[in-house]
């Protein structure tokens, strides 16, 4: 077995294990940690496919930022672990239909294109070929309108998030740094000259 194949199977095994643990673990924080491991392994698979930009972007964006915020939420929620299993049987039929549909869809998509993934010839590039450069060139020439559109949608999301949490002026006392900077000594300190009184 070639070394690369061994690495692929190892990473995939970790990926499958981590993904299973995400849904089977009781503690939601542990589940989120396994999700991070799953992202990591997925980026390892992408590195094997020589898609280094996608792999690093996955770690940078999902592991470095998204999952951090996700962990914040999961940790701050007051989750009662004992009550988590309530309604398991009630929701099982609906959930199984949804998951079966998803599996079928993925099988249809992946079965056609990627069957025999390991045998398929990934275009071998020389070591100086820059994946990120090629991706950037495509994004800003051929796909520039979808790209700009996506950025506008993200901007709308940012503005919406701010608008949802902004509830008028805060009533708390807070200092304004610009006012602080412009304060002069004579605004705050008054030097008084009081003549000494004569002793009686």
């Amino acid at each position: 077995m070639e070394f690369k194949t061994f690495v692929f199977y190892f990473i995939s095994a970790v990926l499958v294990f981590a993904s299973l643990r995400v849904v089977t673990l009781k503690n939601p924080v542990h589940a989120a940690l396994h999700l991070i491991l799953a992202f990591f392994s997925a980026s390892g698979v992408w590195i094997l496919l020589q898609a280094e930009f996608l792999a690093i972007a996955l770690v940078l964006v999902y592991v470095g930022a998204v999952m951090v915020l996700f962990l914040f939420v999961v940790m701050l929620l007051d989750i009662n672990v004992d009550r988590l299993r309530e309604g398991f049987w009630k929701y099982l039929p609906l959930a199984s239909i949804v998951s079966l549909l998803m599996v079928a869809e993925m099988a249809l998509v992946l079965g056609g294109t990627y069957s025999g993934l390991l045998e398929s010839d990934i275009p071998q590039q020389d070591s100086q070929y820059s994946n990120s450069k090629a991706l950037g060139r495509l994004l800003f020439t051929e796909y520039v309108y979808p790209f700009e559109l996506a950025s506008v949608i993200l901007l709308v999301g940012v503005v919406a998030a701010v608008a949802l949490t902004l509830r008028g002026k805060t009533k708390s006392k807070s200092v304004s740094p610009s006012e602080q900077v412009f304060v002069k000594a004579k605004d705050r300190v008054r030097v008084l000259k009081i003549p000494a009184e004569a002793r009686e």
Binding site: E52, V68, S130, S132, S174
Partner: protein, 368 residues
């Protein structure tokens, strides 16, 4: 590996080297070259990590000495000559202390959290170049790799706070994690400008691009480095590195009298690993600033030869700046920390991004 060994070994050992190679060839056959590659890589990794860890230990010592001199004190001078064995004594003391685990703590996560904080600062050295050829892995997207790896260190903080089963530690970890994420945005934006003008994601290329230009032709290399045309970005990046490492004046977790940090429940060696993480992140930060803004291994004047010495010299000078800041600046309040990151640095970065973009499109572009 063999070429290098032939260069560095004394002459009388060379026949033994040949015999050793033949022996290996007979024993392992075709796999021998692979084994040699792996062994050679491990040796190179060790050659980077061992001096790094020693450097971390002596950075703590240098910090105490330098701050001592700044405050007209002597600093540690009891253990060994000039106190030189002090870091080893500190390490031994911390090793022998009991590692306490709070009741109700998530034991595994509690113990793995310091490792999460420490590993990224070491891992990033895989792609840090020391000269044009002296680099462990010269990958195309090395700067992206560094950013991705360093962004993982925030997990050490979050997990430490959560697994301690203490509200103080948890709130402290939320604060520190929010601080790190906020400054990562400013750091990323200032790096975008650097990437724009150097037209590469490879740190070696970024350093080499800084050695070209009108001033470099005149022999004044230090004026052609990125710090001058990108002065606002340089300041933003420098301060963001301070905030990322949790150094003074952004060392909120250290303010045990007014506000506590994520590592209140840690003791002994598990606490020491957090300190190691802070110092190794600091050394990595100085290396990054030197490489991206201060020309890396290129010498300040044209008549001096370029060498790794200049990189280490710049890193040391920046480390002294870190110590200096700790000795002089008062600690920021938390809302001031967040305001500086979001309301000052990010707008400055965005404006300078636009200015540099227009500059590059104009006829006065100096980065062709």
């Amino acid at each position: 590996m063999v070429d290098t060994l032939q260069l560095i070994l004394p002459g009388f050992l060379l026949p033994y080297l040949d015999r050793f190679m033949q022996f290996g060839q007979e024993l392992f056959g075709g796999a021998w070259q692979d084994i040699l590659t792996v062994v050679w890589t491990v040796i190179k990794v060790m050659l980077i990590i061992a001096p790094l860890l020693l450097g971390v230990a002596y950075t703590t010592f240098a910090e105490r000495k330098v701050i001592g001199w700044m405050q007209v004190r002597i600093g540690p001078n009891r253990v060994g000559p000039w106190g030189l064995i002090q870091p080893l004594a500190d390490g031994l003391k911390l090793l022998l202390k009991e590692v306490t685990i709070p009741s109700g703590a998530d034991k595994f996560v509690f113990l793995i959290a310091p490792v999460f904080a420490f590993t990224p600062a070491v891992l990033a050295w895989a792609v840090i170049p020391f000269s044009d050829f002296l680099v462990l892995a010269n990958v195309n997207a090395s700067l992206l790799f560094i950013m991705a790896v360093t962004s993982i260190s925030v997990y050490g903080i979050i997990l430490a706070g959560w697994s301690s089963n203490s509200k103080y530690a948890f709130l402290g970890s939320m604060r520190s994690a929010a601080q790190m994420i906020s400054y990562e945005v400013a750091m990323g934006l200032s790096l975008v400008v650097v990437l724009m003008i150097s037209n590469s994601l490879n740190v070696v290329d970024i350093v080499q691009a800084q050695g070209q230009g009108r001033f470099a032709d005149m022999g004044l290399n230090f004026l052609s480095w990125n710090w001058l045309p990108l002065l606002p970005m340089f300041v933003v990046y420098l301060v963001s590195i301070f905030a990322e490492c949790g150094r003074a004046p952004f060392d909120l977790p250290e303010g045990e009298s007014e506000i506590v940090g994520y590592h209140v429940e840690y003791a002994g060696m598990s606490f020491a690993v957090f300190q190691l993480a802070e110092y190794s992140a600091m050394i990595l930060g100085t290396a990054l600033i030197s490489l991206l803004f201060l020309g890396g291994w290129s010498s300040p004047f044209g008549f001096l030869p370029d060498s790794a010495f200049w990189l280490f010299f710049k890193m040391f000078a920046l480390l002294v700046v870190f110590f200096w800041a700790r000795a002089t600046f008062p600690r920021y309040r938390y809302d001031q920390v967040m305001r500086l990151g979001w309301k000052v640095f990010i707008p400055v970065c965005l404006v300078w991004l636009l200015i540099v973009g227009c500059w590059m499109m104009s006829p006065w572009n100096i980065w062709k």
